[in-house]
Symmetry: C2
Subunit: 283 residues, 2 copies
DNA sequence: GGCAGCGATACCATCCGGGTATCGATCCGG
DNA sequence: CCGGATCGATACCCGGATGGTATCGCTGCC
């Protein structure tokens, strides 16, 4: 199977419309139809049910959509990492670390300082991204290492080392009655009148239907809390970033959050290995 | 990047010889040279240093070799899983489970029985393979789930659930002086006169240089132990498979072995999910 | 210094991927 | 119930990419 065929199929499977898919791919519709037919012949499997009016995925088709996306990611990552390796050996070596914009600020600073002090350290570029985007950066070869937070981020497909575990706190507007408590439980804060828990985007950028405001990042969330429109359950370490108009109370039975450093398997880079070693030593 | 180009590059990178690589690929040498040049131009990176006498990998080249193999595996897996999905929906659904030939026999029997009793269970084919081959089967889409044994097998790139942990024993010829002991330590058994620990093949099928006999699987190993040519450190559960000419003694400070059930991310199969759920319940 | 081995280049044939025009089926509005 | 609109499939043609053969140029070695 050629990546071109996979790209074509993924486009059609996502659009469920040959015309739009062809447009997206920048080719005409007939060659696209032919390419898909040929792919189906070679696989010996129907991928799409076409009724000349609608296109739907077959069982095999949805498998190929999921697997094909992963395979295309892997090819793209191979390409990007090769380019980066070439740049690196041409004199501009450097690591790219990606982490959520909101989390582990202290840990990250500590890590970067400690690594920079190592012999043979290379410059580290830091990318700050929205929640759940780190995985994509790492998978697509845009970054060399990531700081992830279990259980929020999935670590499937990566090598990881645990860096630390922390409890969670509920962030409330200053002056809220609950802020006098030394601790609360989840039951105390679900369904607080006027302070719903927010909804985060799924991996595809859409939101589950339901109550609660939609938020894109942590800053936005804290804004909402300060405005008295939501409350938030966050890792303890976010306390360092809270203004005086916000208060935090430990939630005893919230799941513990584990910060891990993650990197792609097949990484043969000494710099990544050094950074990981530094990170585990800090722990 | 097309998979054809990747396959070509991987062949050359593995052979480090254009002529042999071309032969392996079933094409002539000139088109291969051209394809690699074109790939290098498009990536903007030298992948190979050619001195008209020898071919060596550049830094970027070895990155692309590692990443490219992974990407090709992913493409191949996508293809195979799609074919399997098509077969499954055409009336022959079934799971393929792969595990080491030597390990977890009881656990496996228990799991298969329990799963077969579930409503909606599908037939499970079991593949028994040599050590460290399970990962390949899973990655290449030849199997849907695997039983792996940490720390021997790497679980990188898969979703996993732990099924159980056990200690290790040293397997000795019956009558060996140490067999009267109730337990031993690693120090007691390294360098036993005439009973070296064996060497296992690496992922690429070659053996590290060093002392100790080369073994390919567990049966072969036990044979060697029975012949008084080696001793072996194995998970406790192997005791059930020992003949009377072999004896086992617990090794207190050997690393604990964890059996895990692993499956590829992107698996959308209900059967896999059911099997995993059954497995975790047994635990 | 001549020869053997190896990768690169030159040049040619072929096939495949892409484009345009058009068909056939289905849905929908009148 | 008919006609137009929409959409995927088919027919046919073209150009470029891919593969083959012949040969060159370099390098190491007897």
């Amino acid at each position: 199977m050629e990546t071109r065929e996979l790209r074509y199929f993924v486009a059609v499977a996502e659009e469920l419309h040959f015309g739009r898919a062809a447009e997206r791919l920048g080719i005409a519709q007939p060659p696209l139809s032919r390419a898909i037919q040929q792919l189906e012949r070679r696989l010996g499997a129907a991928l799409l049910d076409r009724t000349s009016r609608t296109v739907t995925l077959t069982e095999a088709g949805s498998v190929l959509l999921a697997e094909g996306r992963a395979a295309l990611d892997a090819v793209e990552a191979a390409e990007r990492r090769t380019r980066r390796a070439a740049l690196a050996s041409a004199g501009r070596p450097g690591l790219v670390l990606v982490t959520k914009a909101s989390a582990s600020r202290e840990l990250l600073a500590e890590l970067l300082d400690a690594y920079a002090a190592e012999p043979g350290a290379v410059p580290v570029d830091v990318i700050l991204c929205g929640p759940a985007e780190q995985e994509r950066f790492l998978r697509e070869g845009r970054a060399d290492v990531a700081l992830l937070h279990r259980p929020f981020d999935s670590t499937a497909g990566f090598h990881t080392e645990e860096l630390g575990t922390e409890g969670q706190v509920v962030v409330l507007p200053a002056g809220h009655p609950l802020t006098v408590r030394t601790h609360v439980h989840m039951a105390d804060i679900t369904g607080l009148p006027g302070l719903p828990l927010p909804r985060w985007p799924c991996a595809d950028g859409t939101y589950q239907p339901g109550p609660g405001p939609q938020v894109r990042d942590h800053a936005q969330l804290l804004q909402l809390v300060a405005l008295g429109r939501a409350c938030a359950v966050s890792p303890e370490s976010c306390r360092a970033q809270l203004h005086s108009d916000l208060a935090a109370v430990p939630v005893l039975d919230a799941p513990k959050v584990t910060t891990v450093i993650a990197w792609p398997p097949h990484s043969r880079s000494r710099a990544v290995a050094d950074l990981v070693r530094t990170a585990t030593r800090l722990r």
